[in-house]
Symmetry: C2
Subunit: 160 residues, 2 copies
């Protein structure tokens, strides 16, 4: 009997016409998401980064040298709107983590590149972040993690 079970019990009493099984699943999903987000942001904050900033730096880092992508490329990788991406790049530029350089191939566009400072920050942060991710799922056995990953993959496939 967890928090979500108590919510479902209330609905069953008040609206017995509703079939609330999916609400249970989605309710647990949502609460779990809030806990995971909090823990992930806490660790990134220890390295001076927000999740928004980290996502951009990590996308640049994993794209490989010379660690440069256009805002449009970053956009395609991150499920946010263009206005959000502009804001993220602005913040990172202010703190010297990235720089905007001219895109020789396209005058409408620009390239966002990691600075040495940004590269150092993301190398340090990603190591801690990956360790933290291990910790966050360690309550599940390897087989359970595999099973959960498979189910998430299947459901995710219906949206992308």
């Amino acid at each position: 009997m967890d928090h979500v079970d108590r919510i479902l019990a209330q609905w069953s009493r008040e609206r017995p016409d509703l079939d609330v099984a999916p609400m249970g699943l989605l309710g647990r999903f949502g609460r779990l998401r809030a806990h995971l987000a909090r823990e992930i942001e806490r660790v990134l904050a220890e390295h001076g980064l927000s999740r928004a900033s980290f996502d951009v730096l990590a996308t640049l880092r994993r794209s490989g040298a010379p660690y440069r992508l256009s805002p449009g490329d970053l956009l395609a990788a991150t499920m946010v709107t263009s206005g959000t991406m502009t804001n993220r790049i602005d913040q990172l530029e202010k703190t010297g983590m990235v720089e905007r350089v001219q895109n020789p191939g396209d005058g409408r566009s620009v390239l966002v590149g990691l600075t040495p400072k940004g590269l150092a920050a993301v190398e340090e942060a990603v190591t801690a972040h990956v360790e933290n991710q291990h910790r966050l799922v360690e309550a599940l056995s390897p087989a359970e993690r595999q099973e959960l990953d498979s189910l998430l993959r299947k459901l995710l496939a219906t949206f992308e």
Copy 2:
């Protein structure tokens, strides 16, 4: 090979020292969450409600007649801060969905109650919302939904 697999492949090339299996699970979790949130908000918006507003109205509704709770009770149910809850109640009060009434039992506190308009809005919205929730998980078989729910419950239990 989905979007998350491509991210993991990049990391494996750039940072082969990292074990990115948990990143895959959490990455799918995060992307799925974004899709689910978008769909849920779309349906609630059709009924004139944000998710924030709906959560408060739904909490009041499922608490049973007379549909009144203190901000603190609402806080305990919703994983947000007190400032956020004040703002949510303010917005709902502006649109006439809830009203603040004196709490006879505690002078520091107040009771937030559904108005007839708020009750009508939430009854309509919750029906559509539950239908939508069914739709969102229907790509999984009943057994898979059960399995996913169990795994989420187990992992969630480590945080609450």
